[in-house]
Structure formats: structure tokens, C-alpha cells
Point group: C2
Chain length 391, copies 2
């Protein structure tokens, strides 16, 4: 399937199914494949926006659900959106809020029109529909917005996957309509992405994709994965689905994943990623540490992915995962990771970082977050170099 | 009282009783009056050492009690002390551990030889004596070390104050003896300070001071205040005591205090300060914000202190204390404090900082700590300018 209308996305080079591209947004261009660090409710877990940019982030992700609850739609409007509020100058993508309503809210009830849910913070009741999601994302002022969708839990029945997929298609139409009404300046237009649903069923995924392409979006996302299904199923679905996605539009895998998954998905032709793993693992003292020179590690991992290697074989080439609170780091004077681009990873020792975690010093969170985001962002940089040049 | 032997301290200028000095340590010179941010167990609450240095800190304080428990004496020796461990290149002062044994440990029992206490972390039993305190401070590798002392609680009986003061004098002798044994290289010698005790009784304080001067220390500290006595009592004791302290030695007020107290103590002739207030208040969202141009604010506050103004009148000239979590900052787009030297205080809005606290984002702690330390350190810089030049 291909579209002919003008696209905000240009492919610069191809390497097998993998692509090196540029995505133009109203707030600047994004070089792909790209990883988007998560700024949940307008903050990047212990870090200043400038620090995340210095590590190589060109775009970040904000969560509509969190931002709707705090600071709230009216405040966001007052500040001209979350980008000026948090002092992030670059592009920002927002999810639709649907997934977090499903995973975080105390109570939620989905009907054909939308979702009613209770805030996990203060118990207040809220309602999200396709139209409201578009309005809130507009108040957030994001550069890339996601359609409102219905996410079926992992290992749902085929009936439930079908229902969620078809409902998501109807909501896609309504999202697009409200988005077009809100965007009054065509020369300064955010982007809107559709989300392919259908669980682990290729035929449902294909129906979803066809429906979305008929509506027409600036980009297409793969939703409803990384929610409990097996990694084998995820690989299978992503690989077969990506082949059918419009080649001239950005492809975004939502909410995943481990470094080895990202390398594999890039080799399948996915362009955009977001994931809580680098920041969440950092919070627990779990670090991704380079096996050696990142250039060689990522080239080796990518070569294995191109050969269809199992995920653990890809991981093996990339990183060692270390639990910094382990006894064995007590006297380890070596740097956290001398290959990491974060200056702090080269400066401070593993023993010191362990000490910070053991004493509950929040500086430890900072150093661990810089390490893990530094790892992911450097991996993406190397993937961009590989996809632009033959191995 | 004056001493004639060589002093690591030079007075550059005097302004009434206040002094502008330079204190030479084995790890670099410190310009006084000076405030020492607290790096409890080898970390400066959310901040990198370089960030604290950039705000104008020239010396920091480490707590012997905390460092003894974690990472422990053996680890500290392995790393060559806490300065290389935490990557702080400048001078570091350590307390003796006595005060925190008294205030933090689960159980503690003082006898004439020392203190036995139970760790507040894991319940393990430890013993501190004058000799052990010197050995641990040596393992920490601090530039300035404090004698081991016995601290009476605020509002103790005269008998208890007398006992603690006399015991501290005996421990001063033992501290000096063990210190001299440990310092084998006279060309690379740390400094040792004695601590004046005696509660709120001028005569006890004088006996303590005379005893310490007879032993001979590199500097003299005022201990056992800011522990529950009235501020009027503290002012009275500090004012009368400082007059009698050796003029050619640094004078250090331990553990205090509010900005207005520091301004007053500087006007009395105190040179060195440490306090948890800027970092502790930051943790609770309580901020010291300049009333206007710091140069004028500190000059006005200092002039009031020289006139013997009450502390609240000094405070009034200096700062507004704001609780950033208050409702009234919800839509406050003004910077946290445009006069603060921390770049983040000029960049981020009060509404955003409030939002970070409300959402529990640790970035909020960072911004608040930078604000409060920035306030204290700039105040000291202005006090150094004032004491070097007539008002």
C-alpha cells in the first residue's frame, strides 16, 4: 500500500527493510530511526530538558492522561502548551490517553462513544472521547498527536481484539475530523497518526491498517503490543505488518521495548519508538551498559537482527544489564560505563553509584537515568548511521 | 586571647567585628565568611559537585556518622577518601560524629571514654571515641577535622552543660593527640578545630574556650547551639563569645542557621557556617527568594545587623520565604527567582516548579535545592564583598 499525497516524511536511505529518514514537524525535524524519552507529565525523570537534548534526544513524548489530570487542560492553555511550560523547544508527541486510562485509572468503563474513568490521583471522574482527546492534545500543543483508540489487553479473545480494532477505526474517523477542525493554520500544522490494532491476528491487523490508510494519516503506529503477549508473537506481527504499511509514512511502534527489540524492529522497517524501560529500570538501579565500542556493538546486533537471530542473541551483542545495588559493585572503582555519552557515566564509579542507591540519594536516580537514556539514544544514533550506510 | 604561632587563616579586611579572610587548607583556599553545603554521606542532595561549585561553594561538609555507617571506613580508605569517591576536588570539612550519634542513633550511651550507639539504619552496634573519630575522619580524608565532643541537649541543667563541656575538653586533648599521630606529612597537613561547649552560660563557654586555646587548634568552633535554646540566648552567647575567640583563627558556628542569623553572626565576627536548612527546606518546597537585588538586600540586612536589629528585621530585608506548593502559584508564570544565580531559577516558572512538586517529580527537588543553595551562597558572596569594603 502506498499513498501519493505529500508526506512529512522523507526516506534518506534504505538498508534491507530498514530506513534512515527525516520527519518534519512544526517544531523541528526528527531524524529516524528515533527513540522518544518519556516526559510523563511534563518532566523527564530527574533530568533537565537540556540534559536530555545533550544526550541526543530530538523528540520527547508526553502522556495525555497525566497532563489532563495535572496540570490540567486550562493551565496548559494558559502556558501555551506543555513545551513552553517545561522548556522543551523541540518536537513533542502525545499519546491519546486511551492506553493509560486502561492501565492506570481506578475504574474505567468503555462504551462505543468513549471511556469514563476515575483519576488514580484524586478519584475525580473524567470522560475521554476521540473529540476530547484531540482537544486535550491541542491544549498540550504537541507536534505529533495520536488518534484515540481502544486497547485490548494481551491474550484477549479474537472477539475482543476485533471489537477493539473496529471501535478504534470508528474513533480514528472522529479523531481526524476533530483534529482537522482544531488545526486552523495549515502552514503550522501538527501531525496526526493512526494506530493499527488487532492484537496478534494478522488478518485483523490488515483490516485495521487498510481502514486507517483509507482515512489517511501523517503516520501509522502499531498499538496494542507489549501488553503481555509473547515476544515471538510480537516479532511475527510486527515483521508481517510493517511490510504492508505505507512506505512513505513514518512507522511508530508504541511502548516498546528492550534494546534488542528496537534493533529488530528497525531491521523490519520501524522508524519511531518510545519506552519507559530506560527510565523505569534506572529507578530500580538496573543499568544497560555497553559491551564495548557502541559502534561495533550496534553493527553486530543489527547484523544479527538482519539474519533473523533470536532476541537474546541480539541483546548479547549489545549490552550487559547490571544491577548496581549488587554486593559485587561495593568496591568497583571502574566508571559506570566508559562508553556511555553521559559525562557522569565516565566520571563516577560503580561503587559510588551503588552507594547513592544504598543511601537513597536521589543523585543516584539522575546518574542511572543519564546512563540508560544515554545508552538508548546512542544506540539510535548508531542505527541511523547503519541504515544510512551499508554494513 | 591571641595565639602567636603560624595560622592557616589570614584576615584580609575588617568591618566592625566582621572579617574578610582566607583559610588555607591542604585541598585549596577558602574565602570567608563562608557557607558549607552539606554532603551528608558523600552526596549533595540531587546535585552534582560541579553544580554546587558553579553556584559558588568552595568547601563542603561531610558527616562522619553517616560516612562511617555507609560506605564505611574500609571502603573510604580503598577510594582514598570521600573526595575522590564523590568527585569533589575542593576542601571538605568533617564533623566529629558526636552530634549525630546524639541526634540520630537508636540508642546511645555516653561514658567518660566515648559513646556506644546503635546504627539508625541496620541496628548494628558501634563505638566512637576521640581516637576513633580522628581515625575515621582520616579515612574520610577531610581537609578540616573536628575534635570529638559531648553535646548537651538544649535547655539542659547547668550541671549537664558543665559535664559535657569538661568532658569535651578532655576529648579535645585526646583528639589532638591522635590527630598528630595520624598526620605524618607536616607539609600536607589537614586542619583540626576545637569546639567550644557550655550551653547558654557565658562563664562555662569561657572556661571551654580557654581550655581549647591552651591545647591549641587551627580554628575554633561554637558547638552546642541551635539545639532548642531561644534565638535570643544564641545571639547573646555568640556575640559575647566571639569577642574572646582568637582573632587570628577561623571561627565556625556549627549547624546554623537561618539567613538572618548568619548575617548577624558575620557582623559579630564569625567566619564559617554550615546548615541543613537550604537543602531540607528545598525538600519540602520551602524557598528563600530574594526581595530584590542581592547586593542591596544583603547590604541593608548587614547594616541592620550592625545596628543590633532584631532577627526578623534582618530577614525582612533579605528574602521572602515562599511555599511553592501553595495554590497561589498554580498560574504564576514568573521565574522561580530572577535574582538567583542558578540558571534554572531564572528559566523555570513558579507554576512549573509547583507542578513538579505536586506530581512528585524529583526534578522539583533539584530546582528547589539549586534555588536555596544559590540563595545562601550568593548571600555569602555579598557578605564577603561587604566585609572587604566599607558600606
Amino acid at each position: 500500500m502506498n499513498e501519493v499525497d505529500s508526506s512529512p516524511f522523507s526516506i534518506i536511505a534504505e538498508h534491507g527493510a530498514a530506513r534512515r529518514g527525516t520527519l518534519r514537524t512544526m517544531h523541528g525535524a526528527v531524524e529516524t530511526p528515533v527513540f522518544m524519552p518519556i516526559a510523563t507529565a511534563g518532566a523527564l525523570k530527574t533530568l533537565l530538558p537540556s540534559e536530555v537534548a545533550n544526550l541526543g534526544a530530538s523528540i520527547i513524548l508526553g502522556n495525555t492522561y497525566h497532563l489532563l489530570l495535572r496540570p490540567g487542560e486550562e493551565e496548559l492553555k494558559k502556558f501555551g502548551g506543555v513545551r513552553p511550560f517545561m522548556h522543551w523547544d523541540g518536537p513533542l508527541l502525545t499519546d491519546s490517553g486511551g492506553y493509560q486510562v486502561f492501565s492506570l485509572s481506578k475504574l474505567n468503563k468503555t462504551d462505543d462513544d468513549g471511556v469514563t474513568f476515575q483519576s488514580h490521583i484524586d478519584g475525580s471522574m473524567h470522560r475521554l472521547t476521540a473529540e476530547r482527546s484531540m482537544e486535550i492534545q491541542d491544549a498540550i500543543g504537541s507536534s505529533i498527536r495520536m488518534q484515540f483508540d481502544d486497547v485490548a489487553a494481551g491474550n484477549s479473545s479474537r472477539d475482543r481484539y476485533t471489537e477493539a480494532m473496529e471501535r478504534s477505526l470508528r474513533w480514528a474517523v472522529r479523531s481526524k475530523k476533530r483534529f482537522d477542525e482544531l488545526v486552523t493554520d495549515p502552514t503550522n500544522r501538527p501531525l496526526l497518526f493512526g494506530i493499527v490494532q488487532g492484537g496478534t491476528h494478522h488478518d485483523l491487523r490488515m483490516r485495521s491498517l487498510q481502514g486507517l490508510v483509507d482515512i489517511g494519516f501523517d503516520g501509522y503506529a502499531i498499538g496494542g503490543l507489549s501488553v503481555g503477549e509473547s515476544r515471538e508473537d510480537t516479532f511475527r506481527i510486527v515483521r508481517s505488518l510493517v511490510k504492508e504499511m505505507p512506505a512513505n509514512r513514518p512507522r511508530y511502534f508504541m511502548g516498546g521495548g528492550m534494546p534488542e527489540e528496537i534493533v529488530a524492529y528497525v531491521s523490519f522497517g520501524v522508524d519511531m519508538f518510545d519506552c519507559v524501560l530506560p527510565t523505569r529500570n534506572a529507578r530500580h538501579g538496573s543499568l544497560f551498559v555497553w559491551k564495548g565500542d557502541p559502534k561495533e556493538a550496534v553493527r553486530e546486533a543489527f547484523a544479527r537482527a538482519m539474519d533473523g537471530a533470536a532476541d537474546f542473541r541480539i541483546a548479547e551483542a549489545l549490552y550487559e544489564k547490571i544491577q548496581i545495588t549488587n554486593e559485587r559493585f561495593t568496591a568497583d572503582e571502574s566508571p559506570i560505563d566508559s562508553w556511555n555519552d553521559a559525562e557522569t557515566s565516565k566520571t563516577f564509579s560503580r561503587a559510588y553509584l551503588r552507594h547513592l542507591f544504598k543511601t537513597g540519594e536521589t543523585l543516584g536516580l539522575r546518574l542511572a537515568t543519564l546512563q540508560n537514556l544515554g545508552f538508548y539514544l546512542r544506540m539510535m544514533q548508531e542505527l541511523r548511521l547503519i541504515t544510512a550506510n551499508p554494513l
